[in-house]
């Protein structure tokens, strides 16, 4: 299973992959590079990862979601490389017969991904400087 990709993420393709007669609700979260972070004007983000571990950790998170929300099917893609503002960096899609577990599973996966998966972003600002993003620093989100 490969959760990481250097090419664009095709969210329609993820949604189609989850189509099944028993599915009543699908929740898709897509994260995009936005033009402002911590008050600074962002031009692009360079995503890098400890790839072997990131793949394994994402596999564990998907497994956890399946145990917590029985019957859910989850797909995840995270992009690596340099992305400009507006590009999709991550997509999580969750399908279930009912909407509640689909919402909860998608939320669970993106929250855990942000906490645990060894992926980093180096932000390139419009003023030409660049910096590693550290979400544990106060005031940065």
């Amino acid at each position: 299973m490969s959760f990481l990709t250097r090419g664009p993420i095709d969210v329609s393709d993820l949604l189609e992959s989850l189509a099944a007669p028993e599915v009543g609700g699908v929740v898709l979260f897509s994260g995009r590079v936005r033009n402002l972070n911590g008050g600074r004007a962002v031009a692009a983000i360079d995503y890098s990862a400890y790839e072997t571990m990131a793949e394994e950790e994402l596999g564990r998170i998907v497994q956890e979601a399946s145990s917590r929300y029985p019957g859910v099917r989850v797909l995840v893609r995270h992009r690596l490389g340099r992305l400009v503002v507006g590009e999709v960096s991550v997509a999580v899609a969750a399908a279930h017969p009912h909407r509640g577990p689909a919402f909860d599973a998608a939320r669970y996966v993106i929250e855990e991904l942000k906490k645990r998966v060894p992926i980093w972003k180096c932000e390139e600002y419009v003023d030409g400087t660049r910096e590693w993003v550290d979400p544990t620093r106060i005031g940065v989100q």
């Binding site: 890098s48 060894p118 992926i119 980093w120 590693w132 620093r137």
Partner: protein, 80 residues
């Protein structure tokens, strides 16, 4: 014993390289490895309180290392 240490993101920048081979005494723990690594990079900040992974899983500071382990220094993650 020889242990391969991978450095990523701000930790790689601080150390000026993305990989280090460390020679550690048998029975060394993750915390010993971090201390040795700090000496090696002459106090350049590796990242305050980096996480450490051993063989692609997060490991506590008291985890005992074995020869051939792949250790990674994980600065604060920021995926998404």
């Amino acid at each position: 014993m020889n242990v391969r240490v991978l450095l990523f993101a701000s930790a790689a920048d601080a150390a000026g390289r993305s990989e280090v081979n460390l020679d550690l005494p048998d029975g060394a723990r993750v915390s010993d490895l971090l201390a040795e690594l700090s000496r090696l990079v002459h106090g350049r900040a590796l990242a305050s309180r980096p996480m450490v992974a051993v063989n692609a899983r997060y490991a506590a500071p008291d985890t005992v290392l074995a020869a051939g382990d792949e250790v990674a220094v994980i600065p604060p993650v920021a995926g998404g």
